[in-house]
Symmetry: C2
Subunit: 240 residues, 2 copies
């Protein structure tokens, strides 16, 4: 398998690597003109490229062909996660990227321990976690990590998905009974360390979210979204 | 829900808490004679108890009734994990406990970065991680963390399960196609950071292990067993 890089610097039949990626390819891997490289735009398209000029700070490549990334699931799953402690959110982002999520959206709810603080700066860090995980796992798309929403904003945002699974400790139907074959987009909503308030669960039900139970054992706030995502990916044929 | 403790000190219609648990119940929670407490033997049975004597170092309780723990899955799933770095193994043990695994067995394989060192001491620590996760998640059984096996020992050990799923980067059938409804015990075998050698994959096939693919994305060695476990639990009706 040739080496694979993300870049958005793609135009007129050429692709370019800059900075650290250029250094890695030209200096660390000693790539030369004529070498094959795979480049991905991070939006689901892979480009088979050939090196034209391998500079330490910029590598120029000719695009030979392009095709949809083979590693992308055909179901767009967004994780809406009650804002947990920062290290847990990073764990969720990393593993959600490996497991094929298209978007991770933290939101604040009544029992969140975390409070909004330096969110622009944190978001830059979260996006970097997603990018690194996308590289490592061979994703064709770098999941977007959204700026945190309020609970009510989350309700409106998630409602745009075909199916919204609301995972609450209070329980609900088995996950497999909630998933239709026709769902192109699925939202999985899970709580923070403190779970959901009764009022929040009622609002979610009023918004048409489907309550889902994840079993009698209490899952940590970073385990629940990843377990639910694994099951949704398996049931929609995206983990095989 | 009354407070819940693990103890093996159960005999003749009485149950006892000692040490830190006794201190927690008697001093921190200020339990008194007559209070209700749930005690679990860590082997799948819960006991409804009433405090007889609340001492700082030993709490004596009468057993009122006993019943199988409601949080235990009806399928016994063992995770066989290629020995990863220690912190990753602890993550796997913690989350496997939440997700209902009955046993976690690390094993050494050709591409393991980890080498055996102080394994008795580490095992004590791993067991403690399982115990804490069992308490936190409300398990009725504390999963056993086995001493690490060699690859060949793992082959023999896992073969005792009804179904053995061998998760290899080389791929295989979808997980759902490998699970029979009649399986009471399922083994999930996943590799360390370095994956499996071809010889190891051949030995596993010769032992009757079923190769399973977990999709086109490369899952980290701590993500793969937890994703597979989530899916097995969901497909066997134990995550609802």
């Amino acid at each position: 398998m040739p080496h694979r890089y993300f870049t958005t610097d793609i135009a007129d039949g050429s692709a370019y690597l800059n900075g650290a990626d250029a250094h890695h390819l030209a200096v660390v891997l000693r790539a030369k003109a004529g070498d094959d490289v795979t480049v991905c735009d991070g939006l689901g398209t892979d480009y088979a490229c050939r090196v034209r000029l391998a500079g330490k700070e910029r590598v120029e490549m000719d695009i030979i062909s392009s095709h949809p990334s083979e590693s992308e699931p055909h179901t767009a799953v967004t994780l809406y996660v009650g804002y947990p402690k920062q290290d847990k959110l990073e764990t969720i982002i990393q593993k959600a990227t490996e497991l094929g999520a298209v978007r991770v959206v933290p939101f604040f709810s009544r029992y969140c321990v975390a409070a909004p603080k330096n969110e622009e700066k944190k978001n830059v860090r979260y996006q970097r976690v997603a990018l690194e995980a996308a590289k490592q796992s061979g994703r064709g798309r770098v999941p977007e990590v959204a700026m945190p929403l309020s609970f009510d904003e989350m309700l409106r945002d998630a409602a745009a998905c075909d199916t919204v699974l609301f995972c609450d400790e209070a329980g609900g139907a088995p996950l497999h009974s909630r998933l239709k074959d026709t769902a192109h987009s699925v939202a999985i909503v899970t709580g923070s360390e403190g779970g959901f308030s009764r009022e929040e669960a009622e609002k979610a039900a009023a918004a048409g979210f489907l309550p889902v139970g994840l079993g009698p054992r209490i899952l940590r706030c970073e385990t629940a979204p990843l377990a639910a995502l694994s099951v949704v990916m398996a049931l929609t044929g995206n983990l095989q």
